[in-house]
Symmetry: D2
Subunit: 101 residues, 4 copies
């Protein structure tokens, strides 16, 4: 399945990129395929792999902050893999050209 | 932590309440405190309790459909419980009266 | 269409119910049908009605804070109205009993 | 403000990339800076610009389908622009290297 998530800590000021950096390091160490974009992080893997990764990110932030909001969006399609790239390619074929990513 | 989630199956037509009903039965059997509203279900519990519940709902739907979209929003605050009611009460106190729920 | 939204201000501390209360007052004054729940507010109306309401809430908070995160989920179904209650009733009929709301 | 959105049509089968392609063409014609990723589209602009763009995408799909689910996430920060790239760079500086996008 393909999963997008974002974690926002509350009570630490207006800038939170320091915390996003912490999350990204944990995602990177997981070995799962991922992409960072301006509104979240996309990861592909099995349910338990991805959810234990997000839990690890959450545990890490909750050591430092009192409250976090986590958004998770899952697109789960039987037998489908390689979708971080594949879903975009499928749209590009229909649009008839490459798109900015 | 308090968690809102919704599951939308694709490829089964325009109406999906039959699948929502299936999910709600699983949530109800979990014993965790929950509320159904028009856009999702709210559950309160520990990470592993809530996430294994959502996984159970997902596994159940994936037996019948080929693709689902799951949205999960988590509000995780240290030491806070009873928040399905508590968060609303906190707003009502500031508004100065009861609100439609 | 039926719309759920939540607004989280950043940089104002861990508790944000004061800001939620401000939003709810604006929603209440709009005259649109709505429900508050622990993770957001549900409103029903036409696109322009609902979106100008959310913009008003955003403008009001941005007078006081530097950054906000807004989540909006729209369920838009042709010809369907009365869905804040109707969607739940449809699930309850399939479950065979009333559910906690 | 920076906005991520996704539109999922119901009742048109399991594959929806044809509809995503339609949406992306409309986004592209808007002239606003945007990026497509595997779980949605990111656009930057003023409230009215972005919201009228999303409405246009919605109107276009509702000509063909009976029901759609739209997810919109807004990150609104006073005086901040160029954030589709800027937010990622800010994280990359903290991580100390470039990341896959």
């Amino acid at each position: 399945m393909i999963v997008e998530f974002s974690i926002v800590p509350l009570g630490v000021g207006v800038s939170v990129s320091e915390y996003v950096a912490k999350v990204i390091k944990i995602v990177d160490e997981s070995g799962l395929p991922y992409r960072l974009h301006a509104m979240g992080t996309i990861v592909e893997g099995q349910w338990d792999e991805v959810m234990s990764l997000i839990k690890k990110c959450r545990d890490s932030l909750m050591e430092e902050v009192e409250r976090i909001i986590i958004d998770i969006k899952i697109d789960d399609r039987k037998g489908a893999t390689g979708r971080i790239e594949g879903k975009i390619k499928s749209v590009e074929e229909k649009v008839g050209r490459q798109l900015k990513k």
